[in-house]
């Protein structure tokens, strides 16, 4: 192709000595034409982010660098050009947006100031002109009141607004290529839909070539023209979006795609008559407390959970879905008494556990357990796996021997080698850690498991494994589960019933299939509409 | 470069200030900056005899007399003194035409007020010095008649500006003398007037243009500077920022070095004959390990006094040879006694203790004790550490205790909570003034500092002390004090170590400041600066 914007051929990127593998990226060949969106898909560690950085000449030197191959950008080899030329290209001809807009923006500089720099460095314009352009750009990315936002600091904007500002910055000089490194991963699903639309709109206007890096096949289905799938530094498959998504050739691609949960809810199971947990009119607010020494005005009050009532039957999985800030995690923590609710009742086996003090609560702890989101933060890095799992039963009165036997049994149940017993958490992968977290929760033989986004930090293939593990255990132990998630695809596959939360309130409850088929509340409809890749169903 | 230039400019200005006046035998003008260490709390020399006040007070306040190096009285505010045959009436004829710094005339009423209402009441030593004065008559403005109950020959040795400064009646009468404004804004008749006190930095005195002595003072300004750190004081002296440092404000080691290395810096031991400082160890004779005089004598025998003088005080001072300073030899009051070996005799001391039945244990320890050290600097700490080692050699294991001044004073003179204490006393111009307080039964005064903290009480000695105080005949007095020294050498409630010699370090361009027996505590009216 003669009008190719970018042609990457045979690129190797080295890793520092002592890393897991020698090369982060090996023999990479990719090309990109104007107006096209190329998605690079892969799980963590596949080398997709480093590829993006390599294009910008932003690899963390000196240990990580391109050791071989060419990156041909409009006739120039980016691996050979001077640093000075590279700087000229960055921001003006190739620009980039990142996953986490909060940290990617300088916290102590105004949005306007950060946009302004691009003009100052790449074109000559008067200050007034630059400001005007900045406001114009912010308007283009549909930020409200751009004249004010131009003087705002990043922390004053919401996550979506920050990402819009990042895009405005990236598109300031109408670059030929936009590299987007997981730009919507940190965003809520409705915001994600807006940002994706914005990117494709801007692309249409400027005929930008977009290199979009993501792990989410839904997103791929929505925006990609072509797809490159990466695994362990290799591109295992490339092709048009239709070909790769619907007729994957490489087994890895096939496996990945088959791991993506379907949006069609799984068939409902019979609902038990026995209620195991009842949450009645629970409220929880944050802030507003003024302490003894501080005389200042009380801080802002946030209703995190507002008059929530839910019921969980035996053997049932109740999904609580909502976007960030909807109060779903707070609700989970209130249920498990990690937080004290302000009012309302949480009835477990006919006892309102809200009235129990710490000591009284202790025996009840065994009945209701939790699986946490972050497999890295939820295991104490200084404690061995055996101890992590064992200490629950010991606290609940088991002998050392009993606890140890139970631990080994659990390790087997969650699919880990018993040698794990004497190892530390850092020796395990994310998926394995989540298994350990589940084993810890199960060690007490709970009746109810509260799972707070248990798979959202995991790669899609691991996600499937963990979900099926949970399913397996649920059946085996007749567990009832409260499953918190933001991912409607996961919810569809796991939950018998759903409760949709927004701003601390439950806007809708019902059987999963009913909600997916006929959402009652407008918010539920919005949520469902925003799920990427709706039109693609494998 | 810039800094150097700037520096030179400053230095030149300074040089001009110093160097005014023609080359003459006794030039007028100039600023004398000298060291005052430490900074005094106030300048009320009539309430306190503390050293730093003594350095400044006599420049502002005059006394009735001054004393030369031979002890002769030099008339100052009094032109002469007459004593009646029975010694009970003392008449001072005052100098005429003397005015206070505020312009008011100085009269006999001031003297009467000073002695009766100030010195006898609030001065620390005044009540002793003027104990016998029952009343004072002022027949006219320039005549003062003191009526005494008993003769008090020693009183005439306490009339200097330092011991008994004359203060203005018109500024103190009716006020609470101890808290009068005068303490910080002194008004005297002396050669220098108080101008400014920058706390933490200096006190500035300017020439009294209406001083009674014609042509005096020569110097335009006297500034007493406060520099807390000893090394810095020596540096300031070396650099010529200060010209005079008395009472070891510059440590002996630095003084000796400066004297040797710098042509324009000299040292002298003159000017301390009225002070007679004596280093010593006080013992608790009532309780603890030192109730037995044998142990105290053994300690006195063991210590190498000369070594301490040579190493700690760089050779200045003399080993003590009795309870009295050898400076009293001039008046026939001093005699050498046994148990004061200059070079120490550890073997003899060990034998004394063996003979007395103090057995060494397996570690060679006969007894243990706590040894308090006067908290006046590292010289004394070093001295204590030396003595600690020596006492170890004779089987007395001591632990040192070095507390701050108030704690130490309270411990030694109020609580008597000590066993042995390293200290020094001023024996002053006469044993009555400086030595009696250490041994008399009547001087066991709980809460009074620098008196008989050993609580040594000996009726025979008390009688001798009483006789010594009143005896006018020199020969009989000498005999009395010989007996006193014999008793003290035997009982040794206090082990005298050595007579200290204080050093004055001065820049040679300062002249005429050394004629008075009061040394640094004199008026400096005759001092002048020579370029």
């Amino acid at each position: 192709m003669t009008n190719s914007l970018l042609k990457i051929s045979n690129v190797d990127i080295s890793l520092p000595e002592g890393s897991e593998r020698l090369l982060a990226v090996e023999n990479l060949c990719i090309d990109l034409v104007p107006g096209e969106t190329l998605c690079i898909v892969g799980e963590s560690g596949s080398g997709k982010s480093l590829t993006a950085r390599a294009l910008m000449g932003l690899l963390p030197a000196p240990h990580v660098k391109v050791t071989q191959g060419q990156i041909d950008f409009c006739g120039e080899d980016l691996t050979k050009v001077t640093e000075r030329r590279l700087r000229e290209i960055r921001g003006s001809e190739i620009s980039m947006i990142f996953q986490e807009p909060m940290t990617a923006l300088n916290p102590v500089m105004t949005i306007g100031g950060q946009i302004d720099e691009i003009f100052r460095y790449h074109v000559s314009m008067s200050a007034a002109e630059r400001r005007e352009r900045a406001i114009q750009l912010l308007d283009d990315v549909q930020l409200p009141d751009p004249a004010q936002i131009v003087n705002s600091y990043p922390h004053e904007l919401s996550g979506g607004q920050r990402q819009r500002a990042m895009i405005a910055m990236a598109l300031a000089l109408e670059p030929k290529i936009l590299i987007a490194d997981e730009p919507t991963t940190a965003l809520d699903v409705t915001t994600q839909a807006q940002i994706l639309k914005l990117i494709s709109d801007m692309q249409a206007v400027h005929q930008t070539g977009v290199l979009f890096i993501t792990h989410d096949f839904g997103v791929v289905a929505d925006i990609a023209d072509r797809v490159a799938v990466m695994q362990y530094g290799h591109v295992v498959e490339t092709g048009t979006v239709d070909k790769v998504l619907n007729n994957p050739e490489h087994p890895y691609t096939q496996a990945l795609i088959s791991s993506v949960p379907s949006l069609v809810p799984r068939s409902a199971r019979a609902r038990s008559e026995e209620t195991v947990l009842e949450v009645k009119n629970v409220n929880k607010t944050f802030g507003g407390g003024s302490s003894f020494f501080k005389f200042g005005k009380p801080s802002r009050v946030v209703d995190a959970v507002k008059d929530v009532t839910i019921e969980l039957r035996r053997g049932e999985t109740l999904g609580v879905v909502g976007e960030s800030g909807s109060g779903k995690s707070t609700l989970a923590r209130c249920i498990i008494r990690l937080m004290d609710s302000d009012s309302g009742q949480i009835i477990l086996n006919e006892v309102n556990i809200c009235d129990l003090n710490r000591a009284e609560m202790r025996p009840w702890r065994a009945k209701i357990q939790m699986v946490f989101q972050d497999p890295f933060a939820s295991l104490n890095p200084r404690v061995k796996i055996g101890q992590i799992i064992r200490q629950g039963p010991i606290i609940q009165g088991a002998t050392q021997e009993e606890a140890e036997a139970r631990t080994l049994e659990l390790l087997e149940i969650v699919g880990l080698d018993e040698r794990a017993f004497n190892r530390y958490p850092h020796e395990f992968s994310g998926g394995q850690r989540q298994r350990i977290g589940i084993a810890r929760a199960l060690a007490l033989n709970p009746e109810i498991l509260v799972a707070d986004e248990p798979v959202s930090a995991l790669d899609v293939s691991i996600q499937t494994q963990i979900l099926s593990l949970l399913d397996e255990i649920r059946t085996k132990m007749n567990l009832s589960m409260v499953f918190i998630t933001h991912d409607l695809r996961v919810a569809a596959q796991v939950c018998d019933r759903l409760a949709v939360m927004r701003y601390g309130e439950i806007v809708e409850t019902g059987a999963t299939a009913d909600i997916f088929d006929a959402p009652q509340h407008s918010y539920t409809r919005d949520l469902l509409a925003a799920v990427p890749g709706q039109n693609w169903e494998r | 470069m810039k800094i150097t230039k700037f520096m030179n400019a400053v230095m030149m200005t300074a040089a001009i200030t110093f160097g005014g006046g023609a080359v003459q035998a006794q030039q007028s003008g100039g600023s004398l900056v000298f060291l005052v260490q430490p900074e005094p709390p106030t300048m009320a020399g009539y309430v306190s005899t503390s050293g730093p006040i003594g350095l400044l007070g006599p420049k502002i306040y005059d006394g009735l007399f001054d004393y030369d190096n031979d002890g002769k009285m030099i008339p100052v505010l009094a032109e002469s003194v007459d004593m009646s045959e029975d010694g009970k009436t003392v008449t001072f004829n005052l100098r005429k035409g003397v005015t206070w710094h505020d312009g008011k005339p100085f009269t006999s009423a001031d003297v009467q007020f000073t002695i009766m209402d100030v010195l006898k009441k609030v001065h620390p030593r005044g009540p002793n010095s003027f104990k016998e004065v029952s009343s004072i008559d002022t027949p006219d403005a320039h005549t003062v008649v003191l009526n005494l109950d008993n003769p008090a020959p020693y009183m005439l040795r306490a009339l200097s500006a330092y011991e008994s400064p004359m203060v203005p009646k018109h500024l103190l009468e009716g006020e609470d003398i101890k808290s009068a404004k005068l303490a910080n804004n002194p008004v005297g008749t002396g050669p220098f007037k108080f101008t400014e006190w920058k706390k933490g930095q200096y006190i500035r005195l300017d020439k009294n243009e209406t001083y009674w002595k014609e042509g005096r003072p020569y110097i335009d300004r006297i500034v007493g500077r406060f520099i807390p750190d000893a090394s810095t004081r020596a540096s300031a002296m070396e650099k010529g920022e200060v010209l005079y440092a008395a009472y070891n404000a510059v440590s002996n080691v630095e003084a000796v070095r400066l004297n040797k290395e710098k042509d324009n810096i000299s040292i002298t031991t003159d000017g301390y004959s009225m002070i007679n400082p004596m280093a010593l160890i006080e013992f608790n004779t009532k309780e603890g390990p030192f109730t037995d005089a044998v142990v105290r004598r053994a300690i006195s025998t063991a210590i190498d006094r000369q070594f301490m003088l040579d190493t700690i005080f760089f050779g200045y001072g003399n080993p003590a040879t009795s309870a009295l300073s050898s400076n009293f030899a001039a008046t026939g009051l001093h005699a050498e006694m046994p148990h004061y070996p200059a070079n120490g005799d550890v073997a003899a001391a060990n034998k004394m203790l063996d003979d007395a039945g103090y057995k060494k244990d397996s570690d060679g320890v006969r007894m243990t004790a706590m040894f308090d050290l006067i908290p006046y600097g590292e010289d004394w700490k070093r001295g204590g550490q030396y003595i600690q080692q020596v006492l170890g050699e004779i089987g007395i294991q001591v632990e040192l205790r070095y507390e701050d001044v108030p704690t130490w004073l309270k411990r030694i003179y109020h609580n008597y909570d000590f066993e042995m204490n390293l200290n020094y006393f001023y024996q002053l111009a006469d044993p009555v003034l400086g030595v009696h307080r250490h041994y008399g039964t009547n001087m066991i005064r709980k809460g009074t500092h620098f008196v008989n903290s050993s609580r040594y009480s000996n009726a025979g000695l008390d009688a001798l002390l009483g006789a010594g105080m009143k005896e006018p005949n020199a020969e009989s007095r000498s005999a009395i004090y010989l007996e006193i020294q014999n008793i003290l050498a035997r009982d040794m409630p206090v082990v005298n170590l050595f007579e200290l010699e204080f050093l004055t370090v001065y820049n040679t361009k300062l002249k005429g400041a050394y004629g008075s027996a009061m040394g640094a505590y004199s008026s400096f009216g005759d001092a002048y600066l020579e370029e």
Binding site: P60, H63, S291, F292, F293, K294, R333, I336, L338, M361, R362, P363, R365, A366, Q369, M370, F372, Q373, D374, A377, S378, L379, N380, R382, V383, Q391, G392, I395, Q396, G437, R440, A441 | A230, S231, A234, S251, V253, E254, V256, R257, F307, T311, I312, P375, E378, K381, R382, G384, Q385, Y386, Q388, Q389, G392, E399, L400, R401, Y402, E403, D404, T407
Partner: protein, 277 residues
């Protein structure tokens, strides 16, 4: 441990610091062997220059061996540093842990107390404590402890604040673990690294404070320490430079070594601050 050593040894100056520190500790431990006598023992050779009369580093004004003093003083200085640091860390950890963990009123009260101690001019306060208790090794240690602990308390509080909401701590709550156990067994081990780092630096600071107090005449006259040697010799600096110069150098290299080790620990234990990638 092996990993730790690998990380630590990447910092060459830290290894050098460790070597020097080991040397100092070695000298301190064999002081009584190489200089069996009392370091306060005077001799008839005052103010000997280094090398004269058999004094390796000279003698002081009453003929005491400076080298012997340095060897014996090493023990004192290190002990003061270690004990004061240990005590300060202990107090700081208790305050910081309780304040950070419980928050609310407990935090308010404890942090106000900490602020009181941080607001007082610390060195003057140390002087005051030593003067009031009486100058001795114990009072110096107490004073250094009292002025040092607030820094630890603030650090530990910050760590506890950050860690107490981590999911692994919440998991312990859901198991019904006691607060005491959560603080001691779960959270504390995770903030050991910064505590070790700040502790190592505090040892160095403690040695400096001790020498500063001794400079002002507030040392223990019965115990040989570098601070004492300096305060004893400084007035003779111009005449006999060796008396206080050698202990001064001893302080310098020891504090330097401890700092290097501290930095190495920081690099090894705190990956956040590892060199720019």
């Amino acid at each position: 441990m092996n990993d730790f050593w690998k990380l630590f040894s990447r910092n060459r100056s830290a290894v050098l610091g460790l070597l020097i520190l080991c040397l100092v500790i070695f000298v301190a431990s064999i002081a009584s062997l190489i200089y069996p006598g009392d370091p306060f023992l005077y001799s008839k050779y005052p103010l000997s220059k280094p090398g004269e009369n058999g004094f390796l580093l000279g003698s002081d004004s009453i003929g005491r061996d400076v080298a012997s003093g340095i060897a014996h003083g090493a023990k004192t200085s290190l002990l003061i540093g270690l004990i004061a640091t240990f005590a300060a860390v202990l107090i700081g950890v208790i305050f910081g842990a309780l304040a950070g963990y419980y928050g609310g009123l407990v935090d308010d009260v404890l942090m106000r107390v900490t602020e009181v101690f941080q607001t007082i001019p610390s060195f003057i306060f140390a002087i005051l404590l030593v003067a009031i208790i009486k100058p001795s090794i114990e009072s110096v240690v107490i004073a250094i402890t009292v002025v040092s602990w607030p820094a630890v308390a603030r650090l530990v509080r910050g760590e506890f604040l950050a860690l107490k909401n981590r999911e692994f701590v919440q998991a312990c709550h859901t198991l019904g673990m006691s607060d005491y156990r959560i603080m001691l067994k779960e959270i504390l081990p995770n903030c050991l690294s910064p505590i070790i780092v700040i502790g190592s630096l505090m040892v160095a600071t403690a040695i400096l404070i001790e020498s500063g107090l001794a400079f002002l005449g507030l040392g223990d006259p019965n115990v040989m320490s570098w601070g004492f040697q300096i305060s004893d010799g400084r007035s003779m600096l111009r005449v006999a430079w060796w008396i206080c110069t050698f202990p001064g150098i001893a302080i310098l290299i020891t504090v330097l070594a401890i700092n290097l080790v501290g930095e190495g620990l920081n690099d090894a234990l705190n990956p956040r601050l590892r060199e720019r990638n």
